[in-house]
Subunit: 350 residues, 2 copies
DNA sequence: GCCTTGCATGTAATCGATTACATAGATAAT
DNA sequence: ATTATCTATGTAATCGATTACATGCAAGGC
């Protein structure tokens, strides 16, 4: 099998020589074909084909002062919920001609710093941040370096910071979940929250409280259980619930993973869902439809989230911060997916 | 709040001026500090701090002819199994000073082409490929451009192609699964495979057949059911099994997702696991421990897979293809995780 | 005292593409 | 016929860091 030398490096000059034109014309044929006459264009294209020329990205980036890449900062890549959004971000950026760098803010010692570094180094042109837990220090750094219009948030966001963001209607989702349980006749409804300080935790908790008040439901402090979106925390919240003197008849969980962990724990204690307790999740991960029982949940439109976030950033990168005054916040609608994990409450006193 | 102009671009020249040295010395202070005298080094570092200098990656890449980035080609980013490996790859590369680009081969029209493009463009220095379904055409392109020692495979691999690869001991895992079922007394054991043409499908199927022969188990063609690693295919395989005249008493599934889909389907038909049928999965995804019943499965050490694959590529990139003669294939050991989805067979004739 | 060796630093070429500016030729306008 | 206008292309500077080579200076060997 024939094999070309590894680092032959065909340059724009080589192509120019081959085609009998100047390097500038070659460059123009690639970047702005419309200003080149048709015949020279053909000549150049033929020479490119013949020499196997490829543009050197580093040289182009140096000259153009842009990298054609974006960074996606994910909190915990291992979480399937995020990876599906990543898939959709990747698709949109790919179509827009950008490559996608990833970084796991779990792994990075100082994720905010890395974002600043990558932007200032010119490694990436923009950032999609799925992590709403950046510090004030990070924000100040963004601001000091004029990076505001290179960052958009998706799923999570920062309260009180003027960044564009794309998010689900978390509050409404929570309300729908509680109302759904209410319609089944539940009045004693517990909630397993996300981690402290998280914006999603706050939004979903608020929605739940709102619905409770509106429906005039009884409220006990112990019915609000701190979780962290993980299966493990779902299992642990089951421990708490089993220990309660006044047990709720239904639980709204801040994520599907939590719901599945809770259901597993209840089963281990001999309680089954939905007979002994109804459960609603949040997210609609793929497995929600296949768990036992299949999980009633609030679906987040992950592909819309990714697509819109990527679109938003692309738009900002095009008109380099010109139109950036408007800090758009897009809210994506959520849907209640009714499955088998809810039913009417039984009169099970403890 | 004070705010620096967006594109002030402090260069190595500016720092040099500030420190009263030449640009070369500044560059040396950054790249090879040991050749610079201690006092000038301090001088330069102070000037760097003072000016807020940041090295321009594009310029460095152009000169050094490397990008400091790698590409990870993932088949289906949405799959939690892959995203966890991605997390571990990301961590290792990050420590090694490389940034990580991702690409979803589901989304890309021609993933192999993209790999070649990115490497030749100089966008990335190397590639970790989690997708074993590249075409011969792609391989030829790699070879023609001398890219062999810039690619390593992880999880999946290419039969008959001399690329280094890191993989689980799939065959052994399959054998362990069948033996485990055998020990419970199962003789009629079915298998849901992965997709046609996939190397994992082949390795696991082969292991299963081997164990069957060794244990002298009965073999019926219909007990080998084609799947594709997805939950949906697990559900469908359940349809097939329910229709069989001679029903197996246990099923070994090529992935946990398949196992969960199958269990859901059986439940929908009023059969429960493990009472009416035993099920073993493969992967040990996080939810395997929390499903109902909790899933007996073959654990793949995902963090080892990611770490070793990244390490392998890093090593190759260091000594630029010198030591590349050896095409190392690392096999990572798997473990049987025994949970509640297996028990002794019942005499349920159809 | 002279020459060698080595260390620290400076000079300038280089990586490869892009693009502002200049120029030549063709066409249109008067 | 002369000038203005436009189009296609070439010339050369530029992006910013790196590094081969050159230089100067100090220490050590005879």
């Amino acid at each position: 099998m024939p094999r070309r030398e590894p680092e032959k490096s065909v340059t724009v000059q080589d192509v120019a020589r081959q085609a009998g034109v100047s390097a500038a014309t070659v460059s123009r044929t690639i970047s702005t074909p419309e200003v080149v006459s048709e015949q020279t264009r053909d000549l150049v294209l033929e020479a490119i084909r013949h020499t196997g020329y490829r543009v050197n990205q580093a040289a182009r980036n140096l000259r153009r002062k842009r990298s054609g890449a974006v960074l996606v900062l994910v909190p915990n890549l291992g979480n399937p919920f995020f990876s599906q959004i990543l898939a959709s971000l990747n698709a949109t950026f790919s179509n827009g001609g950008y490559s996608v760098l990833i970084s796991d803010s779990n792994v990075q010692e100082a994720p905010g710093r890395q974002v600043v570094d990558y932007l200032l180094d010119g490694r990436v042109d923009g950032v999609v941040c799925l992590d709403g837990s950046l510090t004030n220090d990070d924000l100040e750094q963004f601001h000091l370096n004029g990076l505001e219009n290179r960052i958009v948030f998706a799923c999570e966001w920062l309260e009180d910071a003027p960044y564009p963001s794309v998010r689900s209607n978390n509050r409404k989702g929570a309300i729908m979940a509680v109302e759904h349980l209410y319609e089944f006749g539940h009045r004693k409804i517990a909630h397993v929250t996300g981690p402290r300080g998280n914006v999603l935790t706050a939004a979903r908790r608020e929605g739940m409280l709102h619905a409770r008040r509106k429906l005039d439901l009884p409220l006990r402090d112990e019915w609000i259980i701190r979780g962290d979106f993980s299966v493990q925390s779902g299992w642990k919240s089951g421990d708490d619930i089993l220990r309660m003197k006044e047990r709720p008849t239904a639980v709204f969980c801040a994520s599907d993973m939590v719901a599945l962990g809770l259901i597993a724990r209840l089963n281990a204690a001999g309680l089954s869902v939905p007979q002994d307790m109804s459960v609603v999740g949040f997210d609609d991960i793929e497995l929600a439809a296949f768990s036992l029982p299949s999980l009633t949940t609030i679906r987040q439109d992950r592909s819309a989230l990714g697509e819109q976030a990527a679109g938003q950033l692309l738009k900002r990168l095009e008109n380099d911060g010109e139109l950036s005054a408007a800090c758009e916040i897009k809210t994506i609608d959520v849907t209640l997916i009714s499955r088998d994990s809810c039913s009417t409450p039984v009169a099970n006193s403890t």
